[in-house]
């Protein structure tokens, strides 16, 4: 740049509204931890944000290969943020494979921080770059701002006197990266310094090495001219209150804990480890001091069956899983439906069928949740729409399950389960009460026990073992109305099928009516969504409304039963678009139930919708 004369250390501070950073490296490079530390700092600083951890299903895929790339994406800003971002402004590429995987979604003119030691001949080969290609030094990255530095070497130099081995030194290099990013976005180091001290309290030499490297990364920017621009992202103007950052699985877990406390019941989780649901089991296992019982079962079937057993004895019983496990639980879910006992079944959906894409997201289990039991076996189905929303979804699922004596399926998915966002958490008092319908004395004439005699909600009483004088039998065979005795009478069977269906339909009397999340109750186009597409649809619809488009957004919490007013509401819109990460499952339900000519929009790539995709589709529908 002839003529310009930038003096030493003269950096420009640029105020920006929001930014997307993608940390990308080998599975062993610590990108998840780096991303989470950056996220926590941004959150504590007051930015609104949304994250998207995107990692391979192999724990340690071959080093340096495309299969082993682990990414963590964070979108933070001074405005409200609902998605992790369609594309990135900054890409941290620890090796050639990371660049290869993530470059396609880096914005034109975006910034690349490349660790040159990950781009040697060997790494380029492992990433399958063509012979002779050298992206950092040829012209292929001309459209981007590339900062090259040998992070491995810089870390090594910084820790030369630390007395640590090569491996441990190499492992600290993610802290150098974090230091660079903190400088670049003008963020304080305090939070991470505290984190390191706590994490390595018993290994001071490791703590010191990490602290030294973090500072070195930060100071490297101060003392070199590597970055001309420093970005400032001010705190977001969010509703006032106290916030924390939370992932979907964590929110689900504490939603269950809160529901159990509000119901005055012990919490029992029967579960078998499966990606991406296991974190709920891990989180709940920490609450033993609160009496939470977690039971790691021998298989998925035992997971749900143990929960059925616990529910039978009067616990708030839960089983957690993902698609393949859900398939195994279906027979037992039918038993719970037949017994009419409370049970919360949580399916953290992932790409299917079969083993499918274990670490990638999808919404393709909706119809299985609706119909995946033999016989006429309706139950309540609801879905969470964002990481923090998993809390209230889990709480509501528990409340309905207990108060309506029915199994409930809560659908989340890998995207919101692992993603995180700031959450203005509720205080304990603001949570609804939950009232179990226990029966401790005979409810029939002449002291008869009628386990299937119902109240006005068509709900039967919960009679638990240990209740004196209330001994009775229940089972999977069809039962006579009220007495619960085995009955093969054909008229009685139809009566019971209808009662069980009507009981679930009646839940609609106790859930909120549908209303637009954005836009009006009448518009040219309605975007109807459910589950984790919430952020992308909301952002797209809001932006289009600002551009003057006549569009609205309704997002469904309950899919069975639907809100009572949904059919009437849908009639107010000329066109209905249903974007889903499946081949049109909600679409089928909506078209079948309401006879409206809704149009679907499918994405089945193991990735969430981008805002741009939804916007383009809406524009296409409107034109």
């Amino acid at each position: 740049m002839s003529g310009s004369n930038i003096t030493e250390k003269e950096t420009v501070k640029e105020e920006i509204e929001s930014v997307v950073v993608r940390f990308s490296g080998d599975s062993g490079d610590g990108m998840q931890l780096t991303g989470m530390q950056f996220t926590d700092t941004a959150a504590l600083f007051g930015n609104d944000l949304s994250t998207f951890p995107d990692y391979p299903s192999e724990i340690r895929a071959p080093i340096g290969t495309v299969a082993g790339v682990s990414g963590f994406q964070v979108h933070f800003g001074s405005k409200e943020i609902f998605t992790p971002g369609d594309s990135f402004d900054v890409l941290v590429a620890m090796n050639a494979a990371a660049l290869k995987v993530d470059l396609p979604r880096l914005k034109n003119g975006g910034i690349i921080l490349a660790n040159t030691s990950g781009f040697d001949k060997k790494n380029l080969g492992l990433a399958k770059y063509p012979e002779g290609a050298d992206p950092l030094n040829d012209s292929s990255l001309d459209n981007y701002i590339v900062h090259k530095m040998d992070i491995s070497k810089l870390t090594k130099e910084c820790l030369a006197d630390s007395g640590l081995g090569t491996k441990e030194i190499e492992r600290s290099k993610n802290m150098f990266v974090l230091g660079l990013l903190f400088w670049m976005f003008d963020k304080p180091l305090e939070h991470t310094l505290k984190f390191i001290e706590e994490k390595f309290a018993k290994k001071p030499e490791i703590a010191n090495a990490n602290i030294k490297t973090l500072n070195a990364g930060y100071n490297y920017c101060e003392s070199t001219e590597i970055f001309i621009t420093r970005f400032k992202v001010s705190p977001a103007k969010l509703p006032s209150g106290v916030y924390r950052n939370i992932t979907g699985n964590h929110a689900t877990a504490i939603g269950l804990v809160a529901a159990a406390e509000k119901a005055g019941l012990p919490l029992f989780l029967g579960s078998y480890p499966i990606t991406p649901a296991s974190d709920i089991l891990h989180e709940l296992s920490k609450y033993k001091a609160n009496g939470v019982k977690t039971f790691q079962a021998e298989d998925e079937i035992a997971g749900i069956c143990s929960a059925i057993g616990a529910s039978y004895t009067g616990s708030l019983a839960v089983t957690t899983t993902s698609g393949p496990g859900m398939a195994l639980k279906t027979e037992a879910a039918g038993l719970a439906t037949m017994l009419e006992i409370p049970l919360v079944i949580i399916n953290v959906q992932r790409g299917g069928p079969s083993t499918g894409l274990p670490t990638k997201t999808e919404q393709s289990d909706l119809l299985m949740a609706m119909h995946g039991r033999h016989g006429e076996a309706p139950l309540v189905v609801l879905a969470a729409n964002s990481p923090s929303d998993c809390f209230s979804a889990a709480f509501e699922a528990s409340k309905i399950s207990i108060e309506h004596m029915t199994p409930v399926i809560l659908l989340t998915d890998g995207y919101i389960a692992n993603g995180s966002e700031p959450w203005r958490f509720p205080n304990e008092e603001s949570l609804n009460s939950i009232k179990p319908n226990f029966l401790t004395s005979p409810n029939g004439s002449d002291g008869q026990i009628l386990p299937y005699k119902r109240d006005e909600k068509l709900v039967r009483p919960w009679i638990i073992p240990g209740t004196k004088g209330m001994e009775h039998r229940i089972g999977g065979l069809e039962k006579e109305n009220e007495t619960g005795n085995v009955s093969y009478n054909h008229i009685n069977h139809e009566l019971m099928v209808n009662i069980r269906a009507e009981k679930v339909n009646k839940v609609a009397d106790y859930i909120p009516q549908a209303k637009p999340d954005s836009g009006k109750e009448k518009a040219k186009l309605l975007v109807l969504g459910w589950g984790s597409t919430y952020g992308a649809i909301k952002t797209a619809v809001r932006e289009l409304i600002n551009e003057g488009k006549d569009v609205a957004h309704i997002h469904l919490r309950f899919i069975n039963p639907f809100p009572k007013n949904l059919g009437d509401l849908l009639k107010n819109y000329d066109n209905i678009l249903v974007p889903e990460m499946n081949k049109g499952q909600l679409l089928q339900l909506i078209r079948a139930k309401y006879l409206v000519d809704a149009k679907g929009y499918s994405k089945v790539q193991g990735l969430p919708f981008t805002t741009t995709e939804i916007k383009e589709k809406i524009k296409e529908m409107l034109s």
């Binding site: 924390r244 033993k288 004895t313 205080n427 073992p465 240990g466 039998r473």
Partner: protein, 346 residues
């Protein structure tokens, strides 16, 4: 502290009989099992409302409907998994699993072995009739090889499970065998199972008069039972035979031999003395099914093959909760909601 109320003391077997009509085939061994259970329950020192029967699917599993206790007739093979949840959630309950050879050893095999390994303090009754009865006569995992059934018209080609061996292999802490046609023996074994703290595995030889009639008659018929059945008593020598003249010796490590100790002048105390806590010996006992000497099968052991208490799942679970509670204290819900790191937006 459990207190035995006056009312509990006064209960009779009738108090454990539900108002439902019993619908097993005439002559089914299940009638006897039901009767023996109802007979012992007034004496097992458990309040009636704390007794829970959990069954799977099969003829055996209808048992639950006929006991006037709490009960759940569940789905095929899953009784042990459901009972695990019942026991973990409420350790105070006296839980009885009722299952059959198909229910336990085929479709429910995984739950059986893990329930025994985890060692819940419950009683696991398997009615073994060596046939699928409710589905009208297919071979089961305990049917003998070459058995001709509806699904094996040319004979089964599979070797059967040996239930006692399987249970011991799964690290069961209590393994026993009894038979429908010996009521006193069954009552004694059921009482032992109830008193034992841990998963009590009880294999009950049960006659299916329709699809596998007489499979176990040699162990109870007058002419044969003394030769074919070996009644185990802890601390007593293994003696059988028409005139109690035969005994079993352990020779050369783990080799077993049947001897006529009376003729050979061997003192009974030099015979194999039954030791319920010896797992190696229990395993040997489980192998009698396959052993023979001079073309004659070894007698079939009945009674408690193995009983050795170890830590019980639900008790360990509760103890861990108590210990963590004492160390950390209960986290208030407000603290769980807020977590450790919060910030304020004004």
């Amino acid at each position: 502290m459990e207190t035995v109320t006056e009312q509990n003391i006064k209960l009779t077997s009738k108090d454990f009989s539900s108002d439902q009509e019993v619908k097993w085939c005439p002559g089914c061994g299940d009638y006897s099992i039901l009767k023996q259970a109802q007979t012992i329950f007034p004496d097992i020192n458990v309040p009636k409302e704390n007794i829970v029967f959990i069954s799977g699917i099969g003829c055996s599993s209808r048992f639950t409907y006929y006991m006037d206790t709490f009960g759940m007739h569940s789905i095929h093979g899953r009784a042990a998994a459901i009972a695990s949840g019942v026991k973990a959630a409420n350790p105070e309950l006296s839980v009885w699993i009722v299952s059959g050879d198909g229910d336990s050893f085929s479709i429910g095999g995984n739950h059986l072995i893990h329930a025994l390994r985890k060692n819940f303090n419950f009683n696991y009754l398997v009615f073994n009739n060596q046939i699928y009865s409710l589905t009208k006569g297919q071979y089961s995992p305990t049917s003998e090889k070459s058995k001709v059934t509806k699904s094996t018209p040319y004979g089964s080609i599979e070797d059967p499970f040996n239930p006692a061996e399987l249970a011991l292999g799964a690290n069961a802490s209590f393994v026993s065998r009894t038979i429908d046609r010996d009521p006193k023996h069954m009552q004694a074994v059921l009482k032992r199972a109830n008193d034992f703290k841990g998963a009590s595995f009880v294999e009950i030889y049960q006659n299916c008069p329709v699809f596998n009639d007489g499979a176990f008659f040699i162990y109870t018929d007058k002419e044969t039972k003394k030769e074919e059945a070996l009644l185990l008593e802890n601390g007593k020598p293994l003696i059988f035979g028409q005139n109690d003249e035969k005994g079993i010796l352990i020779l050369d490590g783990i080799k077993c031999k049947v001897v006529n100790y009376k003729e050979e002048g061997i003192s009974p105390e030099n015979l194999w003395i039954h030791d319920e806590k010896n797992k190696t010996k229990a395993f040997l006992l489980s192998q009698f099914i396959n052993m023979e000497q001079d073309g004659e099968a070894f007698p079939r052991p009945f009674g408690v093959l193995y009983a050795n208490e170890r830590s019980v799942y639900e008790e360990s679970m509760v103890n861990q909760i108590i210990a963590i509670k004492e160390r950390k204290g209960k986290t208030p819900l407000g603290k769980i909601l807020s977590g450790d790191k919060t910030w304020v937006i004004a």
